[in-house]
Chain length 665, copies 2
Amino acid sequence: MPASKLDELCVNTIRTLSIDAVEKANSGHPGMPMGMADVAYVLWSNFLKHNPKNPNWVDRDRFILSAGHGSMLIYSLLHLTGYDLSLEEIKNFRQMGSKTPGHPEYGMTPGVETTTGPLGQGFGTGVGMAMAEHFLAAKFNKGDQKIVDHYTYAIVSDGDLMEGISHESASMAGHMGLGKLIYLYDSNSISIEGSTDLAFTEDVVKRFEAYNWHVVEIDGHDHDAINSAIEEARSITTKPSVIVCKTHIGFGSPNKQGSESSHGSPLGEDEIKLTKEAYGWDPDKKFHIPDEALNKFRQAVTKGEEAEKEWNEQLADYERSNAEAAESFKKWMNREISSEFESSLPVFDEDKKGMASRAASGKVINAIKDIVPNLFGGSADLGGSTKTDIEGSGSYIVDKPTGRTIHFGVREHGMGAAVNGMALHGGMIPYGATFFVFTDYMRPAIRLAALMKVPSIFVLTHDSIGLGEDGPTHQPVEHLASLRAMPNITILRPGDANETSYAWKAAIENTTGPTLLVLTRQNLPTQARTGNNGASLVQKGGYVFADSDKETPDAILIGTGSELQFAIEAKAELANKGVDARVVSMPSWELFEKQDAAYKESVLPSSVTNRVSIEAGSTFGWERYVGPNGKAIGLNTFGESGPYEELYEHFGITTEAVVKAALGK
Amino acid sequence: MPASKLDELCVNTIRTLSIDAVEKANSGHPGMPMGMADVAYVLWSNFLKHNPKNPNWVDRDRFILSAGHGSMLIYSLLHLTGYDLSLEEIKNFRQMGSKTPGHPEYGMTPGVETTTGPLGQGFGTGVGMAMAEHFLAAKFNKGDQKIVDHYTYAIVSDGDLMEGISHESASMAGHMGLGKLIYLYDSNSISIEGSTDLAFTEDVVKRFEAYNWHVVEIDGHDHDAINSAIEEARSITTKPSVIVCKTHIGFGSPNKQGSESSHGSPLGEDEIKLTKEAYGWDPDKKFHIPDEALNKFRQAVTKGEEAEKEWNEQLADYERSNAEAAESFKKWMNREISSEFESSLPVFDEDKKGMASRAASGKVINAIKDIVPNLFGGSADLGGSTKTDIEGSGSYIVDKPTGRTIHFGVREHGMGAAVNGMALHGGMIPYGATFFVFTDYMRPAIRLAALMKVPSIFVLTHDSIGLGEDGPTHQPVEHLASLRAMPNITILRPGDANETSYAWKAAIENTTGPTLLVLTRQNLPTQARTGNNGASLVQKGGYVFADSDKETPDAILIGTGSELQFAIEAKAELANKGVDARVVSMPSWELFEKQDAAYKESVLPSSVTNRVSIEAGSTFGWERYVGPNGKAIGLNTFGESGPYEELYEHFGITTEAVVKAALGK
């Protein structure tokens, strides 16, 4: 079979597999895989460095299907090139328990590098992967010994480019000059509602040139053009590239090509037959994979094994000449934390004046930076305010490629996705910082981190009305509750500087999901820890900070973060009134919920129903811990602009309020 | 005094007022007002159509300070031009209870058109205002009788342009060709962390040209250039304009001009003296307003009164020749709803098969579209899925300027801000629609609507695992809880088609905040309503749908939305087992919480502690209604991809589960 015929057969195999799987599921998006099959085939056959037998090979190229609704495209490619994804799984597309969910999910399917579907996320995540590659390459490669040397490719769609995150991430990537980032844009002129003329008429080429990207426009069904464009993009090392591929959605379908009718619904039996006939295929065969095509695709296995073998040899070479660096590299890639980590955490002396937890956090970052040398992060233009600069390391790229402080710009969403991308890539322990209220701007990225269970760390300061004069636009109220409701994330709101140390410990050691550190702008007293209330108890989420002398306390006062101090003060005042209360510090609901029932009961004995919680935020959900006889002190309206001490008084978040509540007044 | 000297005096009056207020508050951002004083002065003196004595004049130009951190710029302008904002208020900048909060807040200060501060929101909101103006002008203007004819201006900053929403909104505005939208971009090359070279090096001119904007670059301190650029922008009627104003942040400060040190902190006493000296001012005078300057600024009062008078005359003319249109115009502007509105709501017959609440919502929209002729909305590229097209009206701009279906594109955030802008503008009853999970993409806009108390309506479909095969990326879990925690929003999750009718009624009639309609993808039975359970009870938030025969029910089963049916079925099954339960339908927590204690007690009598709630989402917060002896059935993990009936079984959100829970098993 001549090469071009074989290529066509292969491409149509991707198409028909996708068509058949969507039809069988009676759900899904056939048009995009049909339209982008040529581009994907050329990329995967001629360029993508990967080993289907080891999807975790660290120097593989990353491939992202940002247009995740076209999931059958990647499932087809993974099955055909020999990943552990059987034809049975393809037939179970979109069924419960299959490895082929409606949108690609990281951790569910070998070869899926990140979860996509919510538009723009793949675009932004890829930027993070390319940043990690770029940093690690600069850090570890020695001359010709390039142990980190791979591309990040993504297929992106009209929808991706309409989303705001694509702007943030593209502007960031262009600024950083990430030359090994190559995006293939499926410009098919169709969105769900119809022609992109309805809503999307910007000049994408010009827009991306404005971002300092290399841009080229091609016919996305012309293999030579695709080849040349990818080659050219790879040759450009100082800019990211976007290849605008003009394609026909639903390619080959006699009645649905170029129409939104092929976007989000199965083609239907009749149209499928017509389409297969148009491809020159037997219209009655389903899930048919011609042997010649499979053989061609499966060359990826040998090629991939060879490529990884070569790389292993290179790594062995590298190890011989750079033993120490090689050891570091392996540790970084395995996220191994030094055994000296805990002892490097700063310990803060009791201090009434104390310090803001954001300041304590800044001290922790700079205390552990040498012990955790792959800690790497920055903020969305709030480095000084969030105290997240890694001092002395320089700024990433701006100063040098191995600078560890990242300037994300005022781009919270792009930052969130980039942090996820770095975490997914491996090698780095990445964090991103902003004001807590602006988690609203990056919530889709936080959610994906939670869904994917990747260890992204977010440092979120100015965590309540305690930020004062900036007013209600900047004062989080509902944010703690709104994020506690999200599955699989860990929030820590430490009550003083020492709790902040251990909050960071929990963050670094959490490898199964994102961690959110929620920190104050204002000073907090550094509490005495002379009894059984060592700050390492933060790791239990909630603990007895100061106990009652009675076996059964008269009351339990629960504080988090900046309000722990009020609970502590209230205990002293209540003692004067003959009420012997216990103080519970509760920096993390999620960690507390993970403790066994006995521990939880020991901290919050069910016999004590006189309970008061205090937290400068919405009381939503606190019923869980204070119960029907308890009282939750908080703020269920928006805040106000003014000095923070006045705001606390105004909104009744005070020691006095705790005392009153505990006295049942 | 020669004109140019007087202009300089005026500009420096803006600067010194801003400097002094920030200094007195010991908090705020002086650099931006100092840098943009020239631009703002020229705009306000020579172009802005406004009447300081009537900030609500409907045909005023809208002015937005999108860079809300520079709030002293607008407060200075408002005070100086004669708005009801005293010098005392300026001196109370950023103090509790003042009209001069840290960031401009709508409703707090006369002349502030929208709340800004969270970057990009003003940018996006302005687009909505310009859309409203454009629609209303096309609808009501007759030949030369232009009763709607005003501009929307905004001052935008580097930070605004870095945010993703600026991309969505700019691309949308360029696509729509909103010629009366004019943005003045403060290009001062400084962000909080330092030079914009750290993070923001895109070519803004080229970028906005790519969006189909008219772009011109000028020296932002050159009054002639500012004048010409604004004139030119006004002359271009088919494109929005952005004027790139190159400015010096902290203009005139000998040591802080052009530096991030003037961005977010007071200048300090010494530097203030030096700065005032540089302006040729007495360094010791504070809050000084030279008489000549005040006289010049206050010309705005006479000019404004004259302009409004002229407009009133024009309106009177219009009324004479177009009585009916004039009446409509007034009704629209006053958000008057026809008395036939309630009777126009569709009533759905009992039907076991029923329909999805999104489908019922689509029927409501199209049933009321003539009775509520200013209902105007659309979706983020999901019109067919969210059922939000206004049939027969045509598409806004794409078909005709008075088309009522808007194609926002895949731009949830831009849509949210545009809906807010239309609501703020007045005249329209705007809505925006997307999948419920994608509220994450527009959360900052929802929050601003809540903070501003503007009646934006959001239609949010595919509201749970009930969407099935699209999988966890598209299945909301935490979204109900996360939004219920937000102050001042109203969420309705109707349980069948008739509840959907009344949910829309509640939305249209809510004028004090945003309403979120949370709707299913899947069919729901249309319930029988033969007793005291008329669907109008939706307006109470929660009501007894089916009562126990006993005075004190054996159990209370609470359902919302698609899970109401399980509560109803469970009641029947429990009856067979000798348990006589009450069913409560609870479409809206917020409306229920607004009822008096007696009503709430009548629905959920405290004596009944055997309570079960069922809702296909996080159980977070349900403790409030089920109490410590109750059980909340829901989903506290992410969902899965598969047919929705299987998912409900898999996650145990079933009639059986309700029965079991009510039996205490």
